[in-house]
Amino acid sequence: MSSQDNSEENPPQQQDDADGGVLATRDNPFANPGLPPHEHRVQDIDERAAKRSERVVAGLFTLSMLSTIGFIASYVAFPVDKIVYVFPIGHVSALNLSLGLTLGLALFCIGAGAIHWARTLMTDVEVPEERHDIEATPEVREELLAGFQDGVRESDLGRRKLVRNTLIGAMAMVPLTGLVLLRDLGPMPGTMLRHTKWAKGKMLINENTHEPLRPEDIAVGSLTFAMPEGLSEEDHDFNNQIAKAALMIVRLQPENIKDKRELDWSHEGIVAFSKICTHVGCPISLYEQQTHHVLCPCHQSTFDLTDGGRVIFGPAGHALPQLRITVNDKGYLEAMGDFAEPVGPAYWERG
């Protein structure tokens, strides 16, 4: 294709000189200046250049085909765990790298070929096209309206009201099928959010060793995570349970504890707080042992563990719930009950 192709809108004489334009005058300052004179491309003038462009485009498309074959070949050839060293990237999966490169090249070559084709070989003649009304002609409109009226009359919809009304009823009822399926989102959580696995007499189990914790295990400045006795990582609802029961244990100097209730609920300076942020429930445990602050990684809520878990910064709404602990007759730490308030973020019925 080249600009030599003639069309009705663009007779050749109009392309080659800037005809079709009107000079602006005092009376008509916004006159249509028309198109600038059309310039030819090398490919329009020189057939060899056009051939060369054709070869480049075909070459790009062929390269794309080869890349696609390369993609299939590397999918077959490389095992999924094969790691190779490639200089700037490092130790990388051979499969991922080759699939990405071949697919990328295949897609890129199609795009680059199409652009080169459009810019050098397809016609680049400027084509003015005047806007016209969107409206259909009066005859077409008339015919359509008449047809609609005919339909209404022939279907007896206006006369047989029972049919019409039951049809409306049927259409209105169908969406209920979708609505009733929402019931499967239930059952309602009930009081599940209020309670955790902690209960009176449950020992604090170290999450690292799965052994019950003794007070002497926990040094000042250390950080330990615990789960309630009887909870096992193999339980099918372990994740649901630990999401509420996760516990963070630190030891403070008793004289550093400012909050009286916190001191009462601690054992020799060992305090146990919920690990679930009261903002949106992220696991908080960025514990700074010198400031005794614990931060939430999600929105930087900061709690003061020496002051009843009070919020000192960030969006969290209320203090971290503390678990009341003591030591049992065998010398292990145990809970004296569940958390006194629901753990985690606030919700409507939280009370």
């Binding site: 310039e39 030819h40 491309r41 090398v42 490919q43 329009d44 003038i45 790691i83 990237i89 490092g90 130790h91 990388v92 999966s93 991922n96 790298l97 990405g100 652009i115 810019r119 050098t120 680049d124 170290n206 999450e207 690292n208 060793t209 914790l213 003794r214 002497e216 295990d217 926990i218 040094a219 400045g221 250390s222 950080l223 330990t224 995570f225 630190v250 696991p283 908080i284 445990s285 960025l286 514990y287 700074e288 042992q289 010198q290 400031t291 602050h293 931060l295 990684p297 930087q300 900061t302 910064f313």
Partner: protein, 271 residues
């Protein structure tokens, strides 16, 4: 036996028995009594403490007090143990250059021997702190379970140090440092002693084997040989870095190519 028995009343018999007894006692003493060695060790130890005290008075006392009791500029060192000193001094964190949110890692000031003397002195100030770990405690012996280490790392360490130990920010200018290039000994000591604002993870709640598992995990995910099937890690910081890369470089490249294509004219007559 008869011969021996016949001569038991010989005038020299008592002397012979006495000689035997003395030889036996002396031999036993020499074999079992560690007295000399103990004395030598003790002497060496007290020498190290003395040397350490001198170093301490010059390099540490201005902040930590002349007897390690601490001042308003530095915490008390009584009972922190030798491992804490070894970590702080051999990673160059101490002596601190200036007061600030956190003492950063920097080239170390003291030699290994001086560090040991300082540690000996500080350890002598009060009992309680962990001793400098020996090689068998922190070096990997091939029996480590890196997968278990990964689980432990994610539950105990990742909240501050990021999932693959790339570090992260804390409050008021404090930060958890990246863990790449940190020697196993220093990782082990940090877990034991809880330097600066890091909480400690003593052996009572995280046994030696679990600490080694964590070190094995870090070697697996955070060293020069770490396999990264996805290619560039972009700092291992997760979706933020990846999104930034895609928006800046991915979209930027597309915009640049588009401009480049559109800016070139295809006309034969260049204007």
């Amino acid at each position: 036996m008869k011969k021996l028995s016949a001569r038991r009343r010989h005038p020299l018999a008592a002397l012979v028995v006495l000689l035997f007894a003395l030889a036996a006692t002396g031999g036993l003493y020499a074999a079992f009594a560690p007295a000399d060695k103990a004395k030598a060790d003790e002497a060496q130890a007290s020498l190290a403490i003395d040397e350490g005290k001198k170093l301490y008075a010059v390099g540490c006392a201005s902040c930590h007090g002349t007897g390690g009791q601490g001042t308003s500029d530095g915490p008390s060192l009584v009972g922190v143990g030798a491992a804490a000193v070894d970590f702080q001094v051999s990673t160059g964190r101490m002596p601190a250059q200036q007061n600030g949110a956190q003492a950063p890692k920097k080239p170390k000031v003291y030699t290994a021997a001086e560090t040991e003397q300082l540690a000996a002195y500080v350890a002598s100030l009060g009992a309680g702190g962990p001793e400098t770990p020996n090689k068998s405690q922190y070096s990997l012996n091939g029996k480590e379970d890196a997968a278990n280490g990964g689980q432990l790392f994610r539950s105990n360490c990742a909240q501050c140090h990021n999932f693959s130990g790339k570090g992260g920010a804390l409050s008021n200018g404090k930060y958890a440092p990246p863990l790449d290039g940190v020697s196993p000994k220093h990782i082990y000591e940090a877990m034991q002693t809880g330097p600066q604002n890091m909480p400690s993870f003593p052996d009572t709640v995280m046994p030696e084997k679990e600490k080694r598992d964590i070190i094995a995990y870090l070697n697996k995910v955070n060293s020069d040989d770490t396999e990264s099937p996805g290619g560039f890690q972009l700092g291992g910081l997760g979706p933020v870095a990846e999104g930034l890369f895609a928006w800046v470089f991915g979209l930027g490249a597309l915009v640049a190519i588009t401009i480049w294509v559109a800016a070139r004219t295809t006309k034969a007559k260049k204007s």
